[in-house]
């Protein structure tokens, strides 16, 4: 199946998972997804759990407190919502890991081009922020004051703006030089 086909299948699966309200069906779907995911399954599952843990625990505990106090607690709901979230986020992680997203977005050549250019620049920005974070740790022998953290955040924003403007100009010139804008 093409990348675009997989994208459509993923989207269909997402919609389906939100139309089904039987925990058993969702659990079966999750089991099938796990088995189909192959060797990556445990790594993907771990990443899924890390991604959803904080929010789900907060919502689940909050629900327990509020519902018990109101007298309308349903264990079935807790099971349903957590299974649904687990399934959906796992599917998302699996899709992202397996499919060439840029190819899947090939509906529009402009979109593909923007996505490609963006992804190249994105990694550079991740490195910049990572460097800033490590450098800040290196220069702070004691926990930094709020004002210093604010200065630091501003410095990162300014550095990112600088790089964005420079990169936009460079990228446009490079594309022009390679004939991308010639009729």
């Amino acid at each position: 199946m093409s990348a675009r086909g997989w994208l459509l299948a993923y989207l269909a699966a997402v919609v389906a998972a939100t139309l089904i309200h039987e925990p058993l069906v969702l659990a079966t779907a999750l089991a099938l997804a796990l088995s189909a995911a192959g060797r990556d399954r445990w790594r993907l599952l771990r990443r899924t759990l890390v991604a959803i843990l904080a929010f789900n625990i907060t919502v689940s505990l909050g629900y327990v407190v509020v519902a018990v106090w109101r007298g309308d607690f349903s264990a079935g709901y807790l099971l349903l919502v957590n299974l649904r979230v687990l399934l959906l986020v796992f599917l998302g992680m699996w899709f992202a890991a397996r499919i060439d997203v840029v190819a899947a977005l090939g509906v529009s050549p402009t979109l593909t081009l923007v996505a490609t250019l963006t992804l190249g620049q994105l990694r550079a920005f991740e490195r910049i922020v990572s460097d800033f974070t490590l450098a800040f740790a290196s220069r702070n022998p004691a926990p930094p004051r709020t004002l210093d953290r604010a200065h630091h955040a501003a410095a990162q924003g300014i550095a990112l703006m600088d790089k964005t403007m420079a990169a936009a100009t460079e990228s446009a010139m490079a594309m022009k030089s390679r004939g991308a804008f010639d009729a």
Binding site: L19, V66, L88, F125, A153, A154, F181
Partner: protein, 213 residues
């Protein structure tokens, strides 16, 4: 405000996608009129910028920090349409590429933060700049955090009402507006202060370099 998939009902996200699609078409069409060779690279770099700004940790009064939103900065520097499209693209890449999830929350986040946030920021600046430019930027940034938070709180809060079992048990997000509105909005009133301060500093720099609209 990363809502994992599974907390929004199809009755919410499907119509939201329809509305968002209309908004994206409007924004893209507006750009096409001024399309030149720099538009595509600019949009790509702005998308990367929107993503990068989201990595910056903003100290918040009270001792914690949160991720920067950056939509006000983008809107005030590059305009609402580009800001909206760039932000939407970041959400798309995060959902599909990084597996950060949120494909069902995407239209809500794009409309709330990308469109309403950007428009509120631009409107606030437009109205208040003649009184005091820096205060206008600060208010714009604060609104760009608070208004989307209110929208997200509302959208989450109506889930129990629009999607439930016959006996009233919720199927998606379980809390009503009476809980979501204060729970989501109040922290964002404070978070918005950090965003406002940061946006003012960075905007001043961008302005001094002549990059602002």
């Amino acid at each position: 405000m990363h809502i994992p998939d599974g907390f929004l009902s199809p009755q919410t996200y499907l119509p939201a996608y329809a509305v968002a699609a209309g908004a994206w078409t409007w924004a893209a069409r507006g750009l096409r009129d001024r399309l030149d060779e720099t538009t595509v690279p600019r949009l790509a770099m702005l998308t990367a910028l929107a993503y990068g700004l989201g990595l910056v940790m903003v100290p918040v009064p009270g001792g914690t920090s949160g991720h920067m939103l950056g939509i006000a900065l983008l809107a005030l520097t590059f305009g609402v349409r580009l800001a909206f499209l760039a932000y939407s693209l970041v959400l798309l890449l995060q959902a599909l590429l990084f597996g950060a999830g949120g494909i069902t929350a995407l239209p809500i986040n794009a409309l709330a933060m990308g469109l309403v946030g950007a428009t509120a920021a631009a409107a606030a600046k437009g109205l208040l700049a003649r009184i005091n430019e820096m205060a206008a930027i600060a208010v714009a940034a604060w609104l760009s955090v608070v208004l989307p938070a209110a929208i997200v709180a509302l959208v989450l809060g109506i889930q129990p009402a629009i999607a439930h079992q016959p006996d009233g048990t919720p199927l998606f997000f379980p809390f009503g507006i009476d809980i979501t509105l204060p729970a989501v909005l109040i922290p964002h009133l404070i978070i918005g202060i950090g965003e406002a301060a940061l946006t003012v500093v960075i905007w001043r720099y961008a302005n001094s370099r002549g990059w602002c609209k």
